[in-house]
Amino acid sequence: MVFRYISRKIVSAQNRNKVNHDAILENGGLAISKNLEENLDFIKSAIGESQDLKIHEFAFGEHNQFSGALVYIDGLVNTIQITESILKPIVSNRKKYKSLEELTISEIRRSILCSGSVTESNLFSQILDGCLSGSTVMLLDGFSKGLIINTEMWEKRDVTEPQTETVIRGPREGFTENLRTNTTLLRRRIKSPKLRMDHMTIGHKTATNVCIAYIEGVARPEIIELLRTRLDSIDVDAVLDSGYIEEYIEESPFSIFSTVGYSEKPDVIASKILEGRIAIISDGSPFVLTVPMLFIESFQTAEDYYVRAFYASITRLMRIFCFFIAVFVVPIFIALSTYHQELIPTTLLFTVATAREGTPFPALFEALVLVISFEILREAGLRLPRAVGQAMSIVGALIVGDAAVSAGLVGAPMVIVVAITAVAGFIIPSQTDSISMLRIIMMILAAFLGGFGIAIGFLGMLVQLATMTSFGVPYFGAVMFSRDQQDSFIRMPLWIMEKRPKNIVYKDKQRKEVIIPPVKSDENVKQKGQDNFDE
């Protein structure tokens, strides 16, 4: 029953037609009338008696014979700018306009206003949109056009160091909740004129600004097109974070692996864009999405490229290894201790058996209890204020774990194993969710089919990864021979990686023309150094 209901829902969503949700108001498509009062009444009725809606009426002209009004939302606009660059010039203008015929909207725009970004519009929908997103609307009596003047300014967070991806070496800037700031951060890194930032609005209620950033010629046009169509077909009333968009554009919604990457760091996003990926910046979220995302990207961090290649490669291999530890160590322990005791070295077996003796629950149950209680602790630690969270984890991890062992509820080896996997899981932040789920699946498989179950689970994971694509690009292509290997399991020195990833990039494949090793201890340089020294 439930399934039928769910599936019907899913199907109806699939077959949905694109409904025209443009109408924030039913009459949004209406044109502005010439009568100022009528227009203002309309706006008032559209936005309602909101306290933050300000309508400033004024008169100007030689004899104050013209009247107009500024409509804006308080708090979204820069009031000083309104005064200085809109009201002041227009009111203090002493030029003689005899009649409306002499004074045109474009005349005002061109010669009176001192504001940068001004657009003309004769539609209520546009005017309301502008008003609600921080612009000031100027309506004049007797004109069937309004001016939308960009006066956006609101409270926002400064560019700070991101909380999620901290680096020891490398830039410390992080994205903020403001779309414009974020695009600026990107522009500042990529000064190429080919960097495109296409805007669109998603969500009928929130009308969130979303920006797609990519480099033309590097990003594949078909992927851009695919992304555009997917973004266009998003039929939702609210986009409050980029996470909302992620769920709508990913290709394998039922997979536990995520096919959309994210980052909080502009340098990371810039490097992804330079590799031919497309970034999706959504207003109100410091997390910028990138597509297509490959599995191996979870193991790449910003710092990999800022430290030398050897160390970067070692840490990356360690991260991959940790993925396996995090997923497989608990299941392997369960399989070994309940199915394949012959594989445990004899002395170790005695140790494990001693700890096992007297614990009441089966190994799977024991492991599940520990893993789940660990997840609870983690969740609790995240939600609590930081200071309390730390105390929490001490109480939870140390005291409860210790007490559970000494009370004989769980065996000490199981605690150790679960603790190791928990720590290892944190090394790959972007896969933490999939790791926790995989771990539990594998644990159940291991408990029911032993090592064979783990093998089945592992192969199943491989098949799942192989069948997945992210925007048409194979999700897990890192097991093939290709030049993408330069930056997958290990990271080659930067001067060797002369090409962008094969699967993603479009035409502009070359990062640089040839492989140029860094300057060798050149004879000239030496000679020069010697000369300087002599002098």
């Binding site: 199915y339 394949h340 012959e342 594989l343 445990i344 070295p345 004899t346 002395t347 170790l348 089919l449 032993g450 090592g451 064979f452 179950g453 093998a455 089945i456 192969l459 199943g460 491989l462 098949v463 799942q464 192989a466 069948t467 194979p474 897990f476 097991v479 093939m480 021979f481 290709s482």
Partner: protein, 367 residues
């Protein structure tokens, strides 16, 4: 009409061939029991004979670069006789999948989980295979490189770890058995692991290699597989000596012998790991090919619809193939090689000859 549009690159094809042969190298008992300590010589002979098979397949691939076996049969023998030939291959591929599945099930059932009913093991294994087969050729061959590397790595590492137990005198005496035994051994080896690469004729249209390089990659992959086989047999004979003929899984016992220190040993898990992964590759490949042949003969639009059906047939077939391991071994060394020779050597050879005589080739049509 192409059922699967997946493409596999040159290196993937190469490693798929290597992986395919490596998968057979782990179950060697049926010919080691025939030729004993000279099995390694026999496997070299078998490798060389296998090269002849390889040459026939390469010639067919070059002659019909965008046709697979079923299409070649139709083209060369006409729709009626060609269909009969293709039907014979359905039998061959299904039997081969069932045999390999049985090998895997036997190993897990005997060595890892003696109390678990084999059908459970087979069903859960085939579920994963079916998942891969549904994804098509790209998914099936995706991990060939990974599997080949892991296997080669494990073979080399265990070779060194076993060095303590290796006694090269175990190879003596050389050539001290009746000539017919060598002939039999060579026959078995060339047909059972090596000749089975005839299945790659089914995926010719999916391979993205220039015509003149197919031979090179095919041979390279074949060589990797063959060398792994020879290495494994060398290691097993050197470690186990004359006892090798007793065991059903010689490699498994060899790895059991490895001992790094007084407590660290028990390496047989490595054998189990590579056996299951390689068998996964081989079975899903054979499974895929069976599904492909059937859907092509019956002119289906997609192979996906019959995946589960064919899977169930394979499972049931494999549970009813032989009553016991002994019968299986007996067939493996005495009957199967002769049967396989028809599918692996005679039919392709006839096809090639007829194609050459009738001067049929698809490459000219295409251009």
């Amino acid at each position: 009409m192409k059922i699967d549009n997946g493409k596999i690159s040159a290196s993937q094809f190469m490693f798929a061939v290597a992986c395919f042969i490596q998968a057979s190298t782990l179950l060697t008992a049926f010919f080691i029991s025939v030729t004993k300590q000279d099995s390694w010589i026999v496997s070299i002979f078998g490798f060389l004979i296998g090269m002849i098979f390889l040459w026939i397949y390469t010639a067919l691939m070059k002659n019909f670069p965008n046709k697979n076996l079923v299409e070649i049969n139709d083209l060369v023998f006409g729709p009626v006789i060609g269909k009969i030939f293709s039907f014979i291959y359905i039998y061959f591929f299904l039997t081969l999948s069932a045999l390999n599945l049985k090998d895997m099930g036997d190993f897990v059932g005997i060595a890892i989980m003696p109390d678990t009913p084999t059908i459970v093991i087979l069903v859960s294994f085939m579920c994963i295979c079916a998942w891969a087969v549904r994804g098509g050729i790209e998914i099936v061959t995706r991990y060939s490189l990974f599997f080949t590397f892991t296997t080669s790595f494990i073979i080399i590492v265990t070779f060194f770890l076993a060095f303590n137990d290796i006694d090269f005198n175990n190879f003596l005496p050389i050539f001290n058995q009746p000539f017919m035994k060598y002939l039999q051994g060579t026959h078995i080896i060339s047909t059972i692991p090596f000749g089975e690469i005839v299945v790659f004729l089914m995926v010719t249209p999916n391979i993205e290699i220039p015509k003149n390089k197919i031979g090179k990659y095919f041979t390279l992959g074949f060589a990797i597989g063959g060398i792994s086989l020879i290495l494994i047999i060398l290691r097993d004979i050197a470690v186990l000596g004359n006892v090798i003929t007793l065991f059903t899984f010689p490699s498994f016992e060899t790895l059991r012998m490895i001992r790094l220190s007084s407590t660290l040993g028990r390496m047989e898990v490595l054998f189990a790991v590579i056996l299951i992964t390689l068998m996964f590759f081989k079975i899903s490949f054979l499974y895929y090919v069976s599904v492909l042949v059937i859907s092509q003969i019956f002119k289906l639009n997609s192979h996906k619809n019959i995946v589960i059906g064919v899977g169930i047939i394979i499972i049931i077939y494999s549970t009813n193939l032989y009553y016991s391991m002994i019968q299986h071994m007996e067939h493996g060394s005495n009957i199967t090689p002769f049967q396989w020779l028809i599918y692996e050597f005679l039919l392709p050879l006839i096809t090639l000859t007829v194609a050459k005589i009738r001067k049929i080739s698809s490459s000219e049509e295409g251009n």
